[in-house]
């Protein structure tokens, strides 16, 4: 009962090979959201990208992989990964599979002949007639490493499942896999891990140019999964840091998979002197414990007292009930430190008073005009006005710049984040620099009148 269209590509394969294709799609689906399907005289190619386009995975199934294979030159399409993943999810019952590309109908037809004479027929919409290629070749890579999937599994398992990146340091005398970049700073409480492997553990280990490449683990792991399912070894091709890394899996003449990934460019990583090994001093960690009262074991009455005092002080600082201030109000009325943001705030009162529904354009013009006015003369500070000094940081920056000229070659340490107790503030949005009072706020425009007729 199936209508037969003229197919631009038609192939059929048995259940076992269909499961291999399913595995390939599952592996690609781990990082890509679209699947690019391409068929030519040589075979079928599946390809995907990750979101940031920093990794491209390609699976090429050769003609001999299929029972029948019929394709016109250059038939290709783009489909969503979600759709095809759902189709290739449960493959246990499948005995034969047929895939047809129907460009005319802009559909991809997948037909499964399952056990008990069941036939599953699926039509997947083609999103786009699009094909992609990447202009990278692995011809001139100087470092080639070949190892079994087990070995790479061990490397991958050495790190946390949540780890994002992995660094491979390829030396003449061995390979070191790390979850951090040597010399670079890591997060507080980050566990550095490394695994050293000797060249003899690999099937082939050719390093002509010692280098350390850092790449994403997620895509690598998804390929590893596929290598494990077909039981093949993995080949890594790479040059120096910053260049692409190629991960290849081949099965005889049937399947050829390539994953191309970008690696971290070393110049983008800042190195720190403090990341050298040294002796532990007690003082270096004083702060973290002095501030964390919650880790205490035995509740010593004295400590509680101290804690209470601390807490009290904190609450005094963070409430507006007394004289202490939450924001630094600009009472000096200093012209230089005032910004357009402050002016915009001044406008709110007047503007809301007028209650006119003029467009934002007028407001913006008013802001600009008012801004110009402000530089020359400033209205006296009204009680209701709050000047938040956003500008002070900027002036600081300028000061710093002039200082830096003297010792330009020493890179200053990036400023440490000060430990500020987290406080809940009310109406934070109003104090942000991006706040435009005319912006739609819940009260500004009434789309539906109140059902409640109280007011």
């Amino acid at each position: 009962m199936f209508t037969f269209f003229f197919a631009d590509m038609k192939c059929s394969l048995d259940g076992g090979n269909a499961r291999v294709i399913a595995k390939a799609i599952q592996s690609l689906a781990k990082f890509g959201s679209d699947l690019y399907l391409e068929a030519d005289q040589d075979g079928l190619q599946l390809r995907t990208f990750n979101v940031s386009k920093s990794a491209m995975g390609t699976f090429r199934f050769k003609r001999v992989f299929f029972e029948h294979f019929n394709a016109e030159e250059g038939s290709y399409c783009k489909i969503t990964m979600k759709a095809i993943l759902a189709v290739f999810k449960n493959m246990k019952q499948v005995e034969r599979c047929e895939i047809r590309l129907l460009i005319e109908q802009s559909k991809l037809q997948v037909q499964f002949k399952c056990r008990l004479e069941t036939i599953k027929n699926v039509l997947i919409s083609i999103v786009d007639e699009e094909n992609v290629t990447a202009a990278v070749s692995m011809e001139d890579t100087s470092n080639v490493i070949v190892g079994s999937y087990k070995l790479f599994n061990d490397i991958s398992n050495n790190f946390n499942a949540a780890e994002v990146e992995m660094t491979l340091e390829a030396m003449g005398n061995g390979l070191t896999a790390k979850n951090y970049i040597e010399g670079a700073r890591v997060n507080d409480k980050f566990m550095r891990s490394q695994l050293k492997l000797s060249p003899t553990e690999f099937e082939s280990y050719n390093i002509h140019e010692e280098s350390a490449v850092t790449f994403s683990l997620k895509e690598f792991r998804s390929f590893l999964l596929f290598a494990e399912s077909i039981g093949e070894s993995i080949t890594l091709n790479f040059n120096e840091a910053g260049g692409p890394i190629f991960i290849k899996i081949c099965k005889l003449d049937l399947i050829e998979c390539t994953l191309v990934m970008t690696t971290v460019y070393t110049d983008d990583v800042s190195m720190y002197e403090e990341c050298r090994e040294s002796e532990v001093k007690e003082a270096s960690t004083h702060r973290s414990f002095a501030t964390s009262g919650q880790k205490r074991k035995h509740s010593n009455p004295k400590v509680i007292d101290k804690d209470r005092i601390n807490k009290k002080r904190l609450s005094e600082e963070t409430t507006l009930s007394n004289n202490s201030t939450l924001f630094r109000f600009n009472t000096d009325n200093n012209n230089d430190t005032l910004q357009s943001v402050d002016v915009a705030r001044n406008l709110t009162q007047e503007d809301l008073d007028m209650e006119d529904d003029e467009d934002d354009l007028i407001l913006a013009a008013a802001v600009a005009e008012d801004n110009a006015l402000h530089t020359s003369s400033l209205p006296a500070v009204r009680e209701s006005e709050v000047f938040v000094t956003f500008a002070s940081t900027e002036t600081n920056k300028n000061d710093q710049n002039s200082d830096d000229d003297d010792d330009a070659d020493t890179i200053p340490q990036s400023p440490q984040r000060e430990h500020v107790p987290k406080l809940r503030s009310i109406f934070t949005r109003c104090f942000e620099s991006t706040y435009v009072p005319k912006e739609p706020s819940p009260s500004s425009q009434v789309f539906v009148p109140n059902s409640d007729t109280e007011d």
Binding site: D154, N158, N160, R185, V186, D188, K189, F190, M191, R192, S193, Q194, L195, K196, L197, S198, T200, E201, Y272, E274, C275, R276, E277, S278, E279, V280, K281, E282, A283, S284, T285, H286, S288, F289, A290, Q294, K295, R296, K297, H298, N300, V303
Partner: protein, 283 residues
Amino acid sequence: MKFKAVMDNAGYMREFLNIIVTLSKLTKECVINIEPDKIHFIANEESGTTAPLVWVDIDAKLYFSEYNIELADSNHSKIMLSTSPANLSRALSSLRSNARHCKLKLINLQFPCLRVEVDVLTQNSNQTRQTAHDVPVTVIPRGEWDYYELPQKPNSKLVLNVPSNRLMRGLIDKIKNLSPTVIFYATSAGEMNLVAETEMATITTRYKNLDIREINPSKGEKNKDQIEASCSVDCKKTSIFFSALQVPTGELSCGIDDDRLIHMEVNIRNGVAIHSILPAVCM
């Protein structure tokens, strides 16, 4: 301050890993107390959670073939660190497979770390793989040591050797669903009863002919023929302790102090023991 220790006995290494895994099931942050001849781990989740207070004593000479500790100055008698046992157990996880030796070293790399280096023998070849993990630790300054004192082993009224912890674990897990508390009752005749009371029923499990390790009768009871002790504890807490235990059943002893506490002690071997204190709860 410096600290370095080396383990090279496969059995001890596995035991050490089991202890750390046990701790990681009990707490997010544990205190390591490194003394010149002993290492203690203290797991004490803040009150409010149900995990019980657990501490571990390890005789350093036994586990470590090399053990060097260099203190900051004469004011310091030990090194006190705090770390995540989950991280530490991850770092030590390769001890489970063919580990040759394991080295622990205190270093400062951006922040203080306990470097765990493990040499693993690969399965197919005779090569060793070197893994190193830098577990971040916090050095507890001298001024705050008082808050992390090692708990005292209580002098319980009646201490008995209890059957294997697997039996106990299963039983407590069942009782947990019936009653929030369980009463440990023991007599000097070597009998121990676990009593769970509900509105509908009272379930008593009886262990007989247990070895008595210690008797400390109170003044009034000295002349009595049979000394009794009983204490009711939180069932969930007890269950957490038993299910966290990852060490093979060694000697488990249970000290009962009338309506005060129950002290569990798992003797893994001479010099290595896991202790736990379960406080009494009012019915």
